[in-house]
Symmetry: C2
Subunit: 233 residues, 2 copies
């Protein structure tokens, strides 16, 4: 936990008009004029791997939209462990509890180098009330968050560890053609509710069986058919 990894780095004031991922994030329905009328600053931040966006229990002044990368929302357990309850990717929003004036309900940490935009609570509340498209987009994010929570319960917390791991790999998208950088064994354990050792053993077994191949560095490619078959049970 080095000091240079604990905080995201400020990149600059966000230029939403020119944002190349605007269609994926909250403000896709806003006109140039409407974007200009935002008074408070929306900051563009770069969160290096392991950077902490915010911590559970602290006051929540802003929400974060993910432009690229992968963010985990975790909750610390009384016994010292942790449980990851959500994974956020491009277009997802972290810290929506801000809108209800509460403190953050999770700790948000970057699993990969990520780009995020930090939107002050007042900005989003005003847009939510004045702009139907933003309002609709917000409802969608909330729904998406609930859907993902369901997935964590049903797919990642149910059944034998091997099946859960297969479902996790599918969820992470490493069945596609592109190789994916996987989270650490410890994070896999926190995602699935199993120990780090079990996560390591299962991954090792998957490699031996040829279900996953490490292509280069940390990146892996997976066997879609084999994994989906394992995921069933």
């Amino acid at each position: 936990m080095k000091p240079n990894c604990t905080n995201p780095e400020w990149v600059g004031r966000a230029k939403c008009v020119a944002c190349e991922v605007r269609n994926f994030v909250l403000f896709s329905g806003l006109t140039t004029h409407e974007l200009d009328s935002i008074l408070q600053p929306i900051d563009n931040l770069h969160a290096a791997q392991h950077a902490v966006l915010y911590e559970k229990g602290t006051v929540a002044p802003s929400v974060y939209t993910v432009r690229s990368g992968l963010i985990k929302l975790k909750i610390d357990l009384p016994n010292g462990g942790q449980r990851i309850v959500r994974l956020l990717r491009q277009g997802d929003v972290a810290g929506m509890e801000t809108l209800l004036g509460e403190r953050y309900h999770h700790t948000a940490i970057a699993l990969q180098d990520s780009d995020v935009c930090r939107i002050p609570r007042e900005v989003l509340m005003r847009l939510d009330q004045t702009n139907p498209s933003v309002h609709q987009a917000l409802l969608q994010r909330w729904q998406r968050s609930a859907d993902q929570a369901d997935h964590f319960i049903v797919a990642l917390s149910t059944g034998p560890a091997e099946a859960r791991m297969a479902r996790l790999l599918i969820t992470l998208g490493c069945v596609g053609d592109h190789p994916e950088t996987l989270p650490s064994r410890e994070d896999m354990g926190a995602l699935l509710g199993i120990t780090t050792e079990t996560a390591s053993r299962i991954m090792a077994a998957f490699k031996r069986r040829g279900l996953v191949h490490t292509s280069r560095g940390n990146e892996v490619v997976c066997d879609p058919l084999g994994l989906t078959q394992l995921a069933r049970q």
Copy 2:
């Protein structure tokens, strides 16, 4: 699965103005006049135990607010089992995916005899757009739903089965003075991601250890201290 248990019973057109739990449900901020201006019918339904409010995958024309009782939201597993992903009580809302025009994401079934109000999608969408208090109440329900999902992941799907069961009993509120009617062993299993047999064994052990007492019929009273201690690990 008898036919008389599969559907909720129509009780009457809801009289929101006179509703004794109105302060707990979505319309607490509406005036009498605003309530009168609702054109489409809000129906008051009684859902007997095991009654099905709606089924996953069907088109979603309405949301349901819970006036009393206990509703489970479940998802069927590919292997024939089921997993309960949410429990709804007084003031909670089921089927909010309706607002995004989607099909239901869960199957909603009454765990106890329950009273619910069925609100047509159009009514809620209009109120959401025209009335800030309803809008705020909706955001709150979404947040509450996400919070409960977190609880299902962190408290009910993490750690040894015994600790999870202790947390479930605390969640169900049977540490209070009032005796509580517990769900079936099968539902406990579906809540915790364990088998019915394990749920039964753990409950039997709790009774032997004096952690829970069956007071009368299905009602039980629990030992708060003992359970909270078990819940830690």
